[in-house]
Symmetry: C2
Subunit: 322 residues, 2 copies
């Protein structure tokens, strides 16, 4: 597997500019806000979404003057939703660092998330492009819808595969689509190619989240930067558990864990069942089917320096271990 | 004092259209979201902010096609911030109704607030005007900054009058400015008049919040639709308490209340001190000075059907009892 930093070699300079753009929001911020802001910008993420914005821009005019703030906007929108997600899940650790709510309390984390939405919106508006502004707002709405469905479905064993796919489409793939489509729009990409890039990023986002949800069970705490099986602890049913319930009638075990939350032994038994049954392979097969569709999308695009990187990212997303 | 409904008589038809526009966001919303959304749209508010948008639009082109979604956007942004404020303050009641967090829990209220930001942003973007989009995002950022300062200053007796005025400028006046300035911009108002309307709404917003903070001590629970003295219970120091601390060295009493939260008797003694000392008049004098400046701003504007209503609103804001 290629390392991610090699894959994204063609956009390294753009990423440096984007980091400067993100850092520049510190100058608008008061002392109080800065303290909390800095806990959220420590990063640790792969910046995969802004990479998509830059790569998508390279098919046509590659207008960096607009792509840089847009990429920063996408990354800040992502950060804002993570900050709010951590409040919702009462998570104490992410990417190996304590979360904003852990350091500063839930209220300040909630307010910081709102502030980051605002700053992400400002950067997006600075492109002067109404269409990407609309897409930005629609994406935030979509992500909130996905989060709301997840909140209503918590600790319910009735979640179907379709409901799961709909939720990750809203929560994850929609932001991959914003990242990619905005890059295309801001580079005067023709409608047909924009549509193909949108399809690509939808498929990529779906594959990404399915693997993410699987790694939550397979990885180690060190690799994840947070406890293993944390989705299950939050009552969030993801694909591995849905497959377990579908095929192996292990509902009783999961139900028992939900009824008796925090029961380490039952959780271990659920994790073990997922590892024993052929669920892991089935999840990978589903993720791979999205990855193949994503690569097929790319083959329909005109030639460009981004071509190979977009294919490599699709493969990376399925092959990665964290 | 004129009733608010008589003052805003000239924009009644526009308000009906705005309510339809707000109601239309229900159609985009899934079942789960709808249930939570409806708890937040029950209203009970005076819609003063959208009224300002419509009145500001009447000086020039009065382009209702854009003013209606903009007014709805401003009202939804206001609603979103109230929903998040109630989570932060753990408020159980607002306008006499249980809050979203009280009915649905903090997590769903947090997510609903995010969704409302998105819908407010979409409506704003539907005007196709980049300048109002930028203003919208700047306003959300400003309001979050004000809220963050309030969170850091909670239960601190060191808050100065200047810090208080800065906080209410960010938290309240900025949204009044968005409401008014966006109405002016979308109606092709010349820069000079737009600037005057911005000054008017800043002064109006300051007067509004100072009176609001005073009514929190003077009103009854029935009139407020929430408990009396709730700012103090949250540890939020507002102008009446700052004046008490400045002039009458009653710090010990407030400190005692903060140290011993929920102590009904000490709270009553603080409320009594505020009522006994000449603090109420001093607060009204400060609010009135902003009201006078607001009216002076209006006198500089060209004649219009909105003229009298904007002056009446400034007076209403200071004279109202709830």
């Amino acid at each position: 597997m290629q390392s991610f930093s090699i894959i994204i070699d063609t956009v390294q300079e753009e990423l440096v500019e984007m980091e400067k753009c993100i850092a520049s929001i510190r100058k608008d911020s008061s002392n109080n806000l800065l303290k909390v802001l800095d806990s959220s910008l420590q990063g640790g993420g792969k910046r995969i979404r802004p990479v998509l914005t830059f790569l998508s821009g390279k098919f046509y005019s590659n207008d960096l003057h607009h792509l840089i703030p847009m990429a920063a906007s996408v990354e800040l929108l992502h950060t804002a939703t993570l900050v709010h997600d951590d409040v919702i899940d009462k998570s104490t650790i992410r990417h190996g660092h304590p979360t904003v709510n852990e350091i500063w309390g839930e209220n300040k984390a909630l307010i910081l998330g709102d502030y980051l939405f605002a700053k992400a919106g400002e950067l997006c508006a600075s492109t002067g492009n109404v269409r990407v502004m609309q897409l930005f707002c629609q994406t935030l709405g979509m992500m909130s819808l996905g989060e709301m469905n997840q909140a209503f479905d918590a600790f319910s064993l009735k979640v179907t595969r379709e409901q799961y796919l709909d939720r990750i489409c809203k929560k994850t793939a929609s932001l991959f689509v914003l990242a990619t489509e905005s890059g295309a729009i801001l580079s005067q990409t023709p409608e047909e190619s924009t549509r193909i890039l949108r399809d690509y990023s939808y498929n990529l986002g779906m594959a990404f989240q399915i693997v993410d949800d699987l790694l939550d069970f397979l990885s180690t705490e060190d690799e994840l930067g947070k406890p293993v099986g944390s989705d299950l602890s939050q009552g969030t049913i993801t694909l591995p558990v849905i497959l377990l319930l579908e095929h192996h009638s292990e509902s009783r075990l999961v139900l028992q864990y939900f009824e008796n939350r925090g029961d380490f032994e039952t959780k271990e038994r659920v994790l073990e069942s997922i590892r024993i049954f052929p669920i892991i392979q089935e999840c990978y097969d589903i993720a791979m089917s999205y990855c193949i569709k994503a690569c097929r999308n790319i083959s329909l695009l005109p030639n460009s320096v981004s071509h190979q990187a977009l294919i490599d990212i699709a493969n990376y997303v399925v092959e990665r271990k964290k």
